[in-house]
Amino acid sequence: MKHFIVGAVSALVLGATTAAAADYPTKEIQGIIQWGAGGSTDTVMRSVTPHAEDVLGGTVVLQNMTGAVGAIALNHVAGAKADGYTLLMGAENPLLYKVMGLGDKDYSEFTPINLLARGTAVLVANVDAPFDDYAGMMKYIAENPGELRLGATGPGGLPSVITAMMESVEGDLDVISVPYDGDGPALTALQGGAIDVMPAVLGAAIESIRGGKMKPLAIMDVEASDKLPDVKPVTEFNDGYSSLLPWGPFFGVFVKNGTPDDVVAKLTEAYAAGAENEDFVSLMDGRGYTIMNMSGDEAQDFLTTWQQNTAWLLQDAGLTKASPEEFGIAKPGE
């Protein structure tokens, strides 16, 4: 009798799960955005999700859950059920939480649904800065040690990675690094002259560059961007960068590991369609983002490589709190 009950209950439970997966979604899906409203992660997620909803046939309710550079949102989703009803919408930086001492979880606890797009970094300067390109800036730093104010957004942020790259290629730079809480405030400060140079994602700076409010020094990539064809890629100034580039921040949608495969498949299909949507593509392109639209193993490989390269770059620059080795992040090429 006892066995029968257990069997019946488990059959019911199993039946319920399969049924739930087959007609997923049966209720509202929560989309937890790691960053604040109006930021780049927020705008990307809010522009792609309505297209994905069309395919999904359900509603994704988007919520911003900010704090501790996104760790609060990540921990929230990691603590929710792995049923596909809680999505994590984030950027690249959780891959650095472990080495930066910001948390003990990263994307390895999650399955990527879609890595939507990737940004390219650009070095921008105040319009009155006494140099016009990357070479001029390096010359200025050499002639005026400790005078150049370089914007930063805290350890693990895009500027810290770009600065680490510059130091690994050019040797130690005698500059003042002024921290801001985000690239928006830092780019504002750049226009007001509080800082001289800022490594920023192209999408955040492109309109101000077009408007002549800041000047681009170099694209941090191996080739010029078709958005700013006149700006040389940094590899033309120093070939040493070609081993480190292309590199860029990215945006992705994730679910917790252990989510049923067919739910993952359905979400993957929906977000892939969203990433291919014409409106979304032209929106991203206009802002200088490159569409990636990666999922499955391809996405997983991308995450692994990105994490290895970036974590070790920061480790070699002496910026990490703990060595990548401790977390089993292999050195690139090993």
Binding site: R46, P179, A194, S208, G211, D279
Partner: protein
Amino acid sequence: MDMFLAFLTVITQPQLLLLVGLGTFAGVYIGAIPGLSVTMAVSILISFTFSWEVYPALALMVGIYMGGVYGGSRTAILLNIPGAPSAIATAMDGYPMAQRGEAGTAIGVSTVMSFIGGFIGIGVLALAAPFVSDFALTFQPRDYMLLAILGILLVGSLSSGSLVKGIFAGALGIAIGAVGRDPLTFTERFTFDLQIMEGGISFIAVMIGMFGVSEALLQLHHVDKTAVKQKISRIVPSLGTVKKHLPLSMQTSTIGVIIGALPGTGGDIAALMAYDHAKRVTKNPSRPFGDGAIEGLVAPETANNAAVGGAFIPMMTLGIPGDAVTAIMIGALFIHGLNPGPMLMVDNPNMFWFIVGALVMANFFILLFGLTGIKIFTKIVEMPRSVLIPLILLLSIVGAFAVNNSVTDVYWMLGFGVFGYFMRHYGYPLGPVILGVILSRLLDDNWRRAIISEREDLGRFFSGIFSSPLSTVLLLAVIFIFVSQTPLWRIAKTRLFGRTGSN
């Protein structure tokens, strides 16, 4: 001519006008409920209006923004619970008025003053936006730091009783604001290795607890008392009253526009600074400040609505948000395929004039919705306390949860509510705590930025201050306001002028 037509778009297309009206109406109520914030409403609207055209979407958002900033004053006056941070100063004289049965007058004055302040903000936006945004950009980290110090000196005017207790409360606020991962280096501060402390303490949770819950607890003492009967015969203030306060409202609106236009400061700081300014310049207030002075309503209400126009200035001219709400609107423009940035005014000047038009109409709607339906609102305060107190507690819990969908915030809110009750009980003012929390980050981040920029050299730091006229003026203002609050100043003043000064 084109620009005039763009300005009129909102009137010539009835559905846009309707949306502005709808937005303003919703905004007044969203603003009035503590915790339901305009920021939240506008970010929900981004997804909601995704498939709409850009004009209707913006019309709704502009309405909600304008209405929400005004709406915060409602609950501040009626219940002593500011519906939004920008209404904190409004509660200080608005609530005493409601206690005297003058809630109708208080709401009437704050509505008309919000309208005037709103117009001055919009006027500056329409006529001088590029000039003001250039000025706002010249603020360096050291200037923001001096501005924060100037703000902290307001502790004096926000503490009704003992100044020492006020300073203690302010310092506590600054410490609360510093909890969590430091945003510049991500180092943990005051977290005691607890995960819930890592994200810091939500400022809104502190505000709702300190004002909402502590007020409810305090009211429990008088649960049997019958509520004050409200006189609502005279709601629209007389022309004489408006005229009398016009000079003050011009000054406080100017404060509002400038503070609003600065990226990083918004209506909350503007309203508190305006309140302090009113206290300083008003020689003979209608009643002492803190007891229901009309001037104490005029100042914050003009300033916070003027700050709305101010916040649009850097947004429209440079694509830089003036506050949290305009940051989301920039996102909305982007999603609708526009490119917010310095080229927006050049490529798409109609957008600018459309927003100015929508703001003007939203401002008129405030007058309409603000001066009607007051009867129902005043009924709220006339409710028996046994109904009102649970209602306040319920709103506080819902509000605290809604800010970040986090139960932790509810615990913080309740904790600070009980703490705030005891603070009030022992005569510690709560205003300075909130002031401290608001200014904590502004002061801390900018001091560090300023000194790091000068290679951690105090000599270079001060020579930087004296080489910039703006920094010098701000430093002198700090020194003047500080000295004018010391006994030394009073003695000097008596010696020089042979009579006691009014402060």
